[in-house]
Amino acid sequence: MDRRTFVQRTCIASAGLLVGGIPALGHDEVVLPQAPPIDVREAPLAKKSALGMPGLYPGRVVELHDARSIVGNRVSQPVIRGMLEQGLKELTGESSATAAWQKFVEPHDVVGVKINPSGAPACCSSPELVREIIGGVQSAGVPMQNIIVYDRFGDEMDLGSYQLLMPPGVRVVGVQANRLDQAGYDANVYAQVDFFGEWETRSYMASVVANELTKIINVPTLKDHSASGVTGCLKNVGYGTFNNVARSHKEPYSFTNPLIGVLCSIEPLRSKVVLNIMDGTRMVWHGGPLTQNQDFIYQAGMMLVSTDPVAMDTVELEILENKRRQEGAPSVREHKASSITKNSREFYTDASKNLFYRQPGHIAAAGKLGLGVADLKTIERRTVEMRA
């Protein structure tokens, strides 16, 4: 039986753009084009999961701080372990980390750990954190061979040495061996939209996600993004699961809003993402997602834990905006023509310059799609200061 559906999300997508995309026009502010409608073909699960986005604890974000988690640019795995365990207990109310893990994964699950290797080696999901997550998933009874660390790009994973640094038995999967490799995608699950007259107007879901994994632990980094404003939970799991997504931004315009949220809403991805653990040991406050410039990488010593990707990205955006203000950089919401450059070298060395008009409104748009809570005032933000 074909239980796939073909849904046009025109109205939602447009609403998303209006919610988050265009600020009030000021001096030098430009009017941005409206996003076209996006069609979706998805593969809903037979039984909808209560664990899927926004998950068991909508609107709750645990924010942990421990300066000892990164010293001299080296991440401390024992400190990370303590932060992760505390974060999970705080999120779930359980008295042990193992009990907390058991709320999200079961022994029969095939668990994907969606890392963010773009930006490796200077800033990517720390292998130390990924190892601790693997240990946690195992503690809930999931066998090692049922744990898959994945991303789209094998070459970026190589730069992060993930294959070597994961325990034996864990599978490490780069969906694409190179930029043109399309073999790892499911032809029946996709989003279709024509942004700029591109030849290929579809973005397909990775087969490993569509057909193999039963749960996903999302491990983004705390990072700005030249097109979407932030690289957070939503972008990591949306753009890191579907192919052909870079077409959504063509200098200086970006339609990452609303594409990011729409991709995250497509089943079965939406139902499979059960937990988000943001690596904030390093914070890229300018030059993301790929910068290697240490001038813009702050050793923040943070971790965020939530089931709600929209709430977490909302908090992340607030943290990044504060840091940018502190550093004298303009808001990622700013849309001034004078801030745009076509010179990537200038972008990578000058925090006042950018390649695109950034679109952080994708977070609010994802909230409109029901993926989580986007209002900072209603988010339950629990801050934990770790002590020795």
Partner: protein, 360 residues
């Protein structure tokens, strides 16, 4: 055509050629990482004599013997290419992607694959002579000494098999994945491991003699300089370790993790860091001679020529080995684990995208 000329007696390798019976004791044959060939100082290449494509991606370095280049690819193929005209003579299909740089022993080409197997392929016919199975990916390059081939696997074991048949002699479990290519001597096998340790195993039995911890996993393949082992770690340090005892004699801090392997010539070890710097250290004391920033990231091994150092990062660079000054650059596509082969006045180069060039 030049053949098998170069041997630096400070490198502790057994003097031999890479042809009929030569041992191949570590990645790209020996400490200089030349792939068994003598490399001479060259000027910037002026033209490509030929170029061809072996598929969609390459994560390894090519090797050369008797007028043939051998290249492994991410499409799971071993390609034999006529070095004179760039024509493919044969190709052999493994079961999965290949991250293992091939090595040569007698008439066999040896390499590992993501299907967990090490293959031995006949150089003349391109047919399989034997295969040895493990339970994890094999990214290390097999090394052969005294008729025994040694390699590590992602299943956390080090293996020793008969080089002529692939029959298992011993296997030894370690604490993590093994991507580091071993350095083999008559008494000891040295390697780094994903568990963060440098290990010395007994060559005959595989028994662990010593294990020295570093602060993170080890991708790097060691070089042995007199009685000192030089190796990099993902913990940002380059280590000089006493080969007999495992005692750390010195360590040198770089700016990020290290996945590259040291090349050693005339007592100088050169290694690249993920911070984009190439570091030249006095191997005996770990003292910095020079460092040069040549890229955003370096993960490939350097290759020594006479007075010249080659490194593939986002293109090919030649540096003065004495001071690290860049002599020339040839931007023909990036590479993550590539290393050039220099034969006479020809440089053979494979890009990460899978293009093979003969440059003159």
């Amino acid at each position: 055509m030049a053949r098998f000329l170069y041997m630096d007696d400070r490198t502790n390798t057994v003097a031999s050629d890479a042809g009929a019976s030569g041992d191949w004791v570590t990645l790209l044959k020996e400490n200089t990482r030349t792939g068994g060939l003598g490399a001479v100082a060259l000027e910037s290449p002026g033209k490509a004599r030929w170029q061809m494509r072996v598929g969609s991606g390459v994560r390894t370095a090519p090797v050369w013997r008797e007028g043939k280049l051998y290249v492994t690819s991410m499409q799971g193929q071993l390609h034999a290419i006529n070095a004179d005209n760039g024509r493919q003579e044969w190709k052999f299909g493994a079961g999965a992607e290949i991250y293992s740089t091939p090595s040569l022993w007698r008439d066999l080409i040896l390499f590992g694959s993501n299907d967990g197997r090490v293959y031995a392929v006949n150089a003349a016919s391109g047919t399989k002579t034997w295969e040895a199975k493990t339970s994890g990916e094999v990214w290390a390059s097999p090394v052969t000494l005294g008729g025994v081939t040694y390699f590590g696997s992602g299943d956390g074991h080090m293996y020793a098999v008969e080089a002529s048949s692939g029959k298992l002699k011993w296997k030894q479990e370690l604490g993590g994945r093994i991507h580091s290519t071993a350095y083999a001597t008559e008494k000891a096998i040295y390697l780094g491991c994903g568990d963060g340790h440098v290990h010395r195993l007994d060559t005959a039995t595989g028994k662990n003699v010593w294990s020295t911890p570093t602060g993170n996993g080890i991708n790097s393949s060691p070089a042995l300089v007199d009685d000192l082992l030089v190796i990099g770690s993902e913990d940002f340090f380059v280590y000089g370790i006493d080969a007999a005892s495992g005692t750390v004699k010195w360590k040198y801090e770089t700016g990020l993790g290290i996945a590259s392997s040291p090349a050693v010539s005339n007592g100088v070890a050169v290694i690249g860091g993920k911070d984009g710097y190439l570091y030249a250290l006095e191997a005996a004391a770990g003292k910095l001679k020079w460092k040069a920033r040549v890229s955003d990231v370096i993960t490939a091994p350097a290759v020594f020529g006479t007075g010249v150092l080659y490194i593939q990062c986002w293109g090919l660079l030649a540096l003065n080995a004495a001071d690290g000054k860049v002599l020339w650059r040839a931007g023909l596509g990036g590479s993550i684990q590539g290393a050039p082969i220099v034969v006479g006045k020809t440089i053979y180069l494979v890009s990460g995208g899978g293009d093979v060039y003969a440059l003159e």
